[in-house]
């Protein structure tokens, strides 16, 4: 019994240790963002200076531009990918077995491929066919790597769907377009939504493909701006504040979403 308790305590301690390892950098950044420092020291005393520098620093215009670009590209990429991916999934689902498998395999390529290989292949492709540098290249590249995920999210919904429901709509007099918009799309909605959210986050989070395809246009997204600035000049208090805000934002959003999801699941289980 003593041994069992010892193992229990020990394993909990181990989990705590690994969590500490995973969160230490995040926690350090947040703590030291209140001490206006570019290394981890307390010598400058407690202050909100790092946070006010987000608005007053010479970098703040660039930062807001980068945030704007990131959001702009993510919105366009996610919207186009979601529309393209949803209709494609319906189309692929109705292909003959052999073609379907082939298309699915090609669709899998951007998902499994390493980002760096995709990034340079886009770069070579764009420069070979002289695509104009800038937003066009970036949004096309983002759409190209996001759409496969939408297809992958919508596809399972299609396989699970009862084909009789759709046929019933046709039998009851709905024309195919109406059956599509009133019956099929609502059934696919969960997949479509998760596809949109996923492609939006993937696009926002992307660094490698954007960095290699942005060219010399001066267009920066948040991640390429961070790389360029923090890499060249090192970390400044400004970045401590920006990173802390990003950490807190992302972690709370995810925690809320996930807790809601698991509580929903529990409710469902109880009902059953």
């Amino acid at each position: 019994m003593v041994k069992k308790n010892f193992i229990k305590v020990f394993s909990k301690l181990y989990l705590a240790l690994i969590l500490l390892f995973l969160y230490a950098p995040v926690l350090c950044i947040i703590i030291f963002s209140f001490f206006n420092t570019d290394l981890f020291t307390f010598k400058n005393g407690f202050s909100f200076e790092a946070y006010t520098s987000i608005f007053t620093s010479s970098k703040s215009i660039d930062l807001w531009n980068a945030i704007g670009n990131t959001a702009f590209i993510a919105v366009i990429a996610a919207t186009v990918s979601t529309v393209l991916g949803t209709f494609s999934a319906i189309g692929i689902f109705n292909l003959s077995k052999r073609t379907r498998r082939a298309v699915k395999n090609i669709n899998q390529l951007p998902v499994i491929n390493s980002e760096i290989v995709m990034a340079v292949s886009f770069m070579v492709f764009f420069s070979t066919f002289a695509f104009p540098e800038g937003y066009l290249r970036l949004t096309l590249a983002h759409i190209a790597f996001c759409t496969p995920y939408v297809v992958l999210n919508v596809m399972p919904q299609l396989t699970q769907m009862d084909p009789n429901i759709y046929e019933a709509a046709l039998d009851l007099g709905a024309n195919p377009n109406k059956a599509l918009t009133k019956v099929m799309l609502p059934i696919l909605k969960p997949g479509i939504i998760s596809g949109f959210v996923l492609s939006f986050t993937l696009s926002m989070d992307d660094f490698i493909i954007t960095q290699i395809n942005k060219g010399n246009t001066g267009i920066e997204t948040l991640s390429t701006f961070i790389y360029g600035d923090a890499h060249r000049k090192g970390m400044e208090p400004f970045w401590f504040a920006v990173f802390s805000i990003i950490f807190v934002l992302i972690l709370t959003i995810l925690l809320v979403i996930n807790l809601k999801k698991s509580s929903l699941k529990e409710n469902k289980n109880e009902k059953i």
Binding site: L109, P110, V117, F125, I143, I250
Partner: protein
Amino acid sequence: MAKKIVLNAKYQNKNQKGKKLKKLFMLNRKVFSYPYIAFLTLFVIAPLLLILINAFLVNGTFSLQNFVNFFTESTSLSTLSDSLLVGFVTTVLCIVIGYPVAYILSKMDSGKVLVLLFVLPMWVNFLIRTLATKTIFESLGVKLGMGTVIFGMVYNYLPFMILPLHTTLSSIDKSYSEAAQDLGADSITSFLNITLPLSLPGIISGITMVFVPTISTFAISELLSNNQILLFGDSINLKFSQDMYGVGSVMSIIMLLFVLISNGLINKFQGKTVDEARRNLW
């Protein structure tokens, strides 16, 4: 009677019309995939083909010189060996650290919720996390080099190991190891003979989800070693930015081969766990 026949005919007619409509619509829906097939050809296949062509081109003519250059140059070979070394050490460390985590979590009632905590940091952009780790090293006065690169990689990819392992471990039927213990095996024997072999698919997918991304990452090793250590991903970027498209393409193809091999391995060992793990990731 006649009325009935007429009605029947009408009904059949309607039915046929419906079938025709359905057929027409099936065709229509197939058509939905055509733009995407064109899109995939243009933006997935064509770029990769261009890479393949570039690998065999030297000054506009077909040649194997790029391959010869890559495999005889000492710098590119040392990049390859550095990448394999970092990838190997990172993967081993991730298994050693991550397996117990996944195992303990799979035994706990609240494991499914707790595993989220281990996955959450992954959602923060890797650059931000890497810069944060770098700042810690600099504050502590740790010399940047191979050690810090491996630390950064483990920090970045540990969740990718924990997740597939946790998925497989928690899906193993508990009665197997209980039966083993009822039959007299101690907990270590039952772990080695029952749990470990059954979790093999999770280990394989964890390995591929850590190893390949580690050698192909761009920027992590560069940041955490002050440009001393370049891994495969950094090196591909460098070659293309120096306009050495030929050698860069050769390296991209080698990278792609790694990806395809690892994907084949995953598919062989139960593709489900990875799919599930991926779905949980995102």
